[in-house]
């Protein structure tokens, strides 16, 4: 690493207190699960962190019943202004306990503390703060004088942004007057369980938020439960499809935020250094385990060499390692299973003839790791150009004209996000208009805000999360 080496700068783990085992949070109490238990592992070390209760169908029943009871007896009757104050309280407690949440998230998920501390947790608090203010202003949202909540919301979230996805789901649901049963991902339950404790600190009425842990069957039982009125899911397109089939023919309102294969388009007039930083953010943020990651770089042919040289140089400075080290840029892959998928797809990339490159990068012996990787000579038919890899792997394609860039960018069943880099304003606007994607980042990438609606076109799902648009998912409109 050149003349100056980085000294280790680990964030202290002392701030978190991980219990040996966790139950389910139902009706305001932690109760034992009746479906057995599974382990949550630190993906950076493979250390077992805790035993987590596996919710059975009976537990799902109990959780839905608790949510229904709280909905009818308390939450749907409470004035919006009081609901608002609970949500503001939660936002404040998250801010107060932000370091604890950030460290715990890094330990359980493997993402760098720099991200959990500076991105995930601040956005979580901001999300609760934003929707808190909506709770007593729903009549101004454009859905009529007295928009009604739906009832009990079943929410199933992924492992890539465990606490942030929880916030995206719970904050608008509660603001609109619904109660929730939320299932965090099997590999990242710890911050959701800490959030349950935060609900108790906030003295949120029992049953308004219920957290049940488990794997796929628990999620399937929850979304299929006849007692829920709303289903919200973030995760893979395959599971989203299965959920859409499950709720077909019911009265359940459904929102899905699914996979992506975003194009990040760099024109020859783009400021190269900024574009390179944008490309780094677009694919190596959170180890590329981001549904809206810019996993296809479309670079204008005339600047291909210049851009890729700069990109390789910049990739050489990325620091991979201990997620709790404050200097770490690239953390651990969340699970052995995910690592296997990334490994399999990158092998397919090589087998299909694309050229693979990674910077010299030592991987820790323990844990799940994958070096930042780019593929050049990628053709549109390669699996690495079509399938969501969900890892720190960038596929580079080229184009000559804006029309070709649009054709290639839209040539995917997904439509979650896209990026455009150019100094020409009119071109930005025309590209933004023609890209079939729910979020377009122009001269930036991977920016999020509670007031900014997020969600996809086509097979990236439907419905929006965030801002005024995000209310619709939780109101009977």
């Amino acid at each position: 690493m050149g003349i100056f080496d980085y000294a280790p700068a680990p964030e202290s783990r002392a701030v978190v207190d991980i219990k040996p085992s966790y139950g389910l949070f139902i009706g305001g109490e932690f109760v034992p699960a009746t479906g057995g238990a599974f382990k949550s592992v630190n993906p950076a070390t493979e250390e077992v962190l805790a035993e987590i209760g596996q919710a059975s169908a009976a537990d799902v029943d109990r959780a839905v019943a608790a949510a229904r009871q709280a909905y009818g007896a308390v939450w749907s009757r409470m004035p919006g202004s009081e609901r608002a104050k609970y949500l503001f309280r939660i936002a404040r407690i998250i801010q107060e306990r932000s370091r604890e949440l950030a460290v715990l998230e890094s330990i359980d998920n493997g993402k760098p503390i720099r991200e959990t501390r500076d991105v995930d947790v601040p956005l979580v608090a901001a999300h609760f703060f934003h929707y808190a203010g909506w709770a007593d202003k729903l009549e101004f949202a454009g859905y009529g004088a007295q928009p009604r909540p739906l009832g009990v919301a079943a929410q199933v979230i992924p492992w890539n942004f465990p606490l942030l996805m929880l916030a995206w789901k719970i904050a608008p649901a509660l603001a609109c007057g619904n109660t929730v049963v939320l299932k965090p991902a099997e590999t990242t339950p710890l911050t959701a369980l800490l959030f349950a404790e935060i609900c108790r600190q906030a003295e949120l009425p029992a049953g308004v938020v219920n957290i049940i842990t488990g794997a796929g069957e628990t999620g399937a039982a929850l979304v299929a439960h006849p007692g829920v009125d709303k289903v919200a899911f973030t995760g893979s397109t395959a599971v989203g499809r299965a959920i859409a089939r499950t709720v077909a023919g019911t009265n359940k309102k459904l929102t899905l935020e699914l996979g992506g294969k975003a194009a990040n388009i760099v024109f020859d007039d783009a400021p190269i250094d900024q574009a390179v930083e944008g490309v780094i953010d677009s694919i190596f943020f959170n180890q590329g385990q981001v549904c809206c990651a810019g996993s296809r770089l479309l670079v204008q042919e005339s600047i291909q060499d210049e851009l890729l040289d700069a990109l390789r140089r910049r990739m050489g400075t990325l620091r991979l390692g201990d997620p709790l080290d404050k200097n770490t840029d690239v953390g651990a892959i969340n699970s052995a299973e995910q690592l296997a998928r990334i490994t399999e797809l990158t092998a397919a990339g090589e087998a299909e003839g694309a050229e693979r490159w990674s910077p010299a990068c030592e991987l820790p012996a323990q844990g799940f790791w994958f070096a930042p990787t780019i593929f050049t000579n990628v053709s549109a038919t390669h699996r690495i150009a079509r399938e969501e890899i969900f890892g720190p792997v960038l596929s580079v394609l080229t184009f000559r004209t804006p029309d070709e860039a649009i054709a290639k960018a839209n040539n995917t069943p997904y439509g979650l996000s896209a990026g455009v880099w150019t100094e020409k304003g009119s071109r930005i606007l025309s590209m933004a208009k023609r890209l079939r994607a729910g979020v377009v980042w122009a001269n930036t990438f991977n920016k999020f805000d509670p007031s900014s609606p997020f969600g996809g076109y086509k097979e990236s799902g439907y419905g929006r999360e965030g801002g005024l648009h995000g209310l619709e998912a939780y109101l009977d409109v």
Partner: protein
């Protein structure tokens, strides 16, 4: 032609004559010269499909009899096949870029033009609805009026829906951030059987007002007003392929459209069999189509529709850009 049909037709034409449209007075009886036959033989209309701006027969060569409310023969209509449905989807897809890219003002003018053309043919539609639905003239007239008024209502929405559904988002940082709606794409619409014309317009107008293109499945019993509506659309400056109308059976066309990977959304308003609607919604999950479920309770289509059908087939796009000097 059976006696019953002749009577029915005469009733229909009489009703039409009252309302004066030139297009139907051709079939009314006039004082005849002594040497002419007592009754002039009708020139009947052939009812075909409406695909890509043209009026083809079904590729299958099939047709079916459309009968009046009391069972009398009215016409032979083309019985659309799954291949016709696929052709219609291809035309709707081809028309999407132009129609979604047209200005909202232009779309509004064209929808208003459709209303104008419909107004000019009121008598014809009143006659058709009377024969198909067996309604009194007053009720048929009320339905046609409501259908025209609904078109005018939606024509006015084209350049407003974007404003009420757009937001400038106050994000925490130096970014310009705006969300605005865009059409979903190709929508397959299953029109309710009754009211025949108002039902067709109620599902079609909102879908195309926002820039989607449509494959409209008209219930087999509504073929007459559906294909007459196609004639109206064909002469209203509506680009070919924006609306494609198939007459036939939802039970046959439902699955191919629900499964079609180039269809982006379904409006199941006309699927009365809720079990079948569930099957279609399940099939639609394959490519995550947006689905508007049918109502379990009877729908009063004369009620003010609100914006629900406009917003059902819209996507929200959010664009970020840094603010700097």
């Amino acid at each position: 032609m059976s006696e019953k049909t002749a009577t029915k037709k005469a009733a229909a034409t009489k009703a039409a004559a009252k309302s004066t449209p030139a297009s139907v007075t051709a079939t009314t009886t006039a004082p005849e010269p002594a040497s002419a036959p007592a009754v002039r033989l009708d020139v009947r209309k052939t009812y075909k499909l409406f695909i890509g701006g043209a009026f083809p027969r079904s590729e299958s060569g099939r047709s079916y009899q459309v009968t009046s409310a009391d069972g009398a023969f009215l016409a032979n209509a083309a019985l659309a096949s799954r291949k016709d449905a696929r052709d219609a989807v291809a035309k709707a897809r081809a028309a999407f870029s132009g129609w979604s890219g047209a200005t909202a003002f232009l779309r509004g003018q064209i929808l208003y033009r459709v209303a104008e053309m419909l107004e000019g043919r009121r008598g014809q539609f009143v006659a058709e609805i009377r024969s198909v639905e067996g309604l009194s003239e007053a009720k048929a007239r009320a339905q046609v009026d409501a259908a025209i008024d609904r078109l005018v209502w939606y024509a006015g929405w084209t350049d407003k829906i974007g404003q009420i559904r757009s937001t400038a988002n106050p994000v925490s940082g130096p970014f310009w951030n705006v969300s605005s709606p865009e059409p979903t794409g190709v929508v397959a619409l299953f029109a309710p059987e009754r009211p025949a014309l108002l039902g067709l317009i109620s599902v079609l107008a909102p879908a195309i007002a926002t820039g989607n293109t449509a494959v409209l499945v008209a219930p087999d019993s509504a073929a007459l007003p559906a294909i007459s509506l196609a004639e109206v659309l064909a002469t209203s400056d509506l680009p070919g392929g924006v609306v494609n109308i198939l007459t036939g059976k939802a039970s046959e066309l439902g699955k191919p459209l629900a499964e079609h990977l180039d269809v982006d959304a379904l409006d199941l308003a006309g699927i009365a069999d809720l079990e079948f609607a569930t099957t279609l919604e399940q099939a639609a999950a394959e490519n995550l189509k947006r689905v508007l479920r049918p109502s379990a309770a009877p729908v009063d289509w004369t009620e003010a529709p609100g914006t629900r059908r406009l917003t059902a087939f819209l996507e929200t796009k959010t664009v970020w850009h840094p603010v700097g000097s």
